[in-house]
Point group: C2
């Protein structure tokens, strides 16, 4: 529980491209929302494509250990130019982003989706959309298991192994049920592909059934991932809490972002609910090298990620102030001309402050 002069050691990883621009705005709004309530001791870590290209370093162990000593992490976005021959595919994703998620045991990858008033969905008739995806963050096809044989030859064989443990599935399923219980509709949807991925599917189905017995007030249903994408476009209002694996969660949350007004608004938390290591908050979008340095990016997703962080740290009121300010800003947006990144940050910071 926070005190009026709580202090938070915050690790900031602005990353590359627009990651840096949006992080500046998130920090600006964070300061405005917590002025006098929370003191942030901020340490910046220069990590990402640019550092890798300059030094060959992705995430030195010593840096990881320093980051581990913080209370929370705010991340912008990492990634270089697509197809850059000096950036092997996956090096930053697996070496930095996923390494942080795995090493810091971010097993709940939390991605709320709402259509905020004033925001135009690409869907004709989306209805009242307000759900949250609880994406598993430390297992599934993201483990880096698998390999390749006879690489580059006509006889190449490459495998990817999805690893699913009862340990890993149970804890994220329990977290999802607990979240569902706190929401008005109390509904949980498991998304998987149990009819094809029968081994992984069985452990997910079983644990949803077993843990569900502890939550008799939460209603449960199931959708195959393919059917889930259909409902996401034809009836997204049906969803309340979705729980799913790492890869299906990656896919469904980008789709969710698209139908709720775009990746520019989608926030996420990589949460370690046991608090054995700092949780990390980041917009769902990437570093967008094509518009980097032009202050054209929408910082809203980064700002909402900072709100998720405050909520996680127990500063619910400050978190709510940010969300309300974003809501007001979004509602006022429709008419105006495109604003530059810092203008959006300034506007939201001003609303937060009062």
């Amino acid at each position: 529980t926070p005190t009026s002069d709580a202090s938070v050691r915050l690790a900031v990883i602005p990353g590359d491209g627009i990651g840096r621009e949006v992080t500046d705005e998130a920090l600006k709004v964070l300061a405005a929302a917590t002025d006098g309530e929370v003191k942030f001791e901020t340490e910046r870590y220069d990590l990402g494509a640019e550092r890798y290209l300059a030094t060959g370093e992705v995430l030195p162990d010593s840096v990881l250990e320093e980051i581990r000593g913080h209370d929370a992490i705010l991340l912008g976005a990492v990634g270089g130019k697509p197809g850059d021959p000096n950036l092997p595919p996956g090096i930053l994703e697996r070496g930095l982003l996923l390494r942080l998620r795995f090493e810091l045991d971010h097993y709940v990858n939390l991605r709320p989706s709402r259509i905020y008033p004033g925001v135009v969905s690409p869907l004709r008739d989306p209805g009242e959309v307000d759900f949250v995806v609880v994406r598993e963050g430390t297992e599934g096809p993201y483990t880096g298991n698998g390999g390749a044989l006879r690489v580059g030859t006509p006889a190449e064989v490459a495998t990817e192994v999805s690893v699913n443990t009862a340990f890993g599935v149970e804890r994220v399923v329990r977290d999802a049920f607990a979240r569902a219980l706190k929401r008005p509709r109390r509904k949980l949807t498991l998304v998987h592909k149990t009819n094809v991925l029968v081994n992984a599917g069985a452990v997910w189905s079983r644990l949803v059934r077993e843990v569900g017995e502890e939550f008799p007030d939460v209603s449960v249903d199931y959708l195959h991932i393919d059917a889930a994408t259909i409902f996401m476009t034809t009836d997204p209002a049906r969803f309340d809490v979705i729980v799913t694996d790492n890869l299906f969660g990656d896919i469904i949350t980008d789709l969710a972002a698209a139908i709720t007004g775009g990746i520019g608004l989608a926030a996420s938390g990589n949460v370690n609910p046991d608090r054995t290591a700092p949780s990390m908050f980041e917009p769902v979008h990437g570093s967008a090298p094509d518009i980097a340095g032009q202050q054209k990016a929408d910082p809203t997703a980064a700002i909402l990620s900072a709100s998720l962080m405050l909520d996680h740290l127990g500063h619910d009121a400050a978190a709510k102030r940010i969300e309300d300010a974003v809501l007001a800003d979004l509602a006022a947006r429709s008419s105006g001309a495109a604003r530059r990144t810092p203008e959006v940050g300034d506007a939201i910071a001003a609303r937060v402050a009062g």
Copy 2:
């Protein structure tokens, strides 16, 4: 090349639920479209949930061998009531549907997507959508590799292995390029997740690059599966030919069906381009036990699948007649009341005939 009195040995697997209803209509339209041009020797195979529940048989080897002796297969849909305790998850999918795809080497799973005139998309502004997904059909996470240890205990570990071979990827990529070359826009998009699934991603990227050298007139781009779902809702008109793996293809084609007016219209072909075994044509939708037996299902996807089959068999003119009849029927639909399954079939058959 077909002669005026070509004869086609056709294996028909109506399956379960609405599968049977829509198959009847597909056969009706097929007969109308090929009258005097093709003679169908039709053999019906009773396979699916109902047979399994009655006899314990999924796909006896002898039946598979009989089916193999045909020129083509028309399939309705298979599947029982969701959650039926007597139907182990995946038994029909892996034992019947996927077994046919794998045994008959259906390595090109072809799924065209168009927004036909008169059809309402759930998207506000979809633009001119006309693309085809070439989904790999015999590899990826669908191979049934993987397993589970300590099943049912807190120490359970379950794996799913995605297998990707240069052999398997190259042939489907070449097929996709050849299709792209025949289309006006000549564009190919690889969809994958190369930044996380680096082993599989490398073989897909390499073969798209290598085979692409044989197709200098086809332009190539790449999207991660998550980003592809975004574009599918914000700018689906950008797609021409998509090539992707078995699981990503499953997901993206259901989404494609949704944004082009629903699964009731989505046709597919499980094609063996080498013609070493019969290809199989089926609607993308399932057996819909909830509306089975009520003649409420839209048979259009099954009818369009029959058109894909005629095209594959070289009866292009008859295939086109079916597609044109469907187009005309769709354009006339908007105003009318809901029709029963056979009424839709009758209407399309009448348009085909005259």
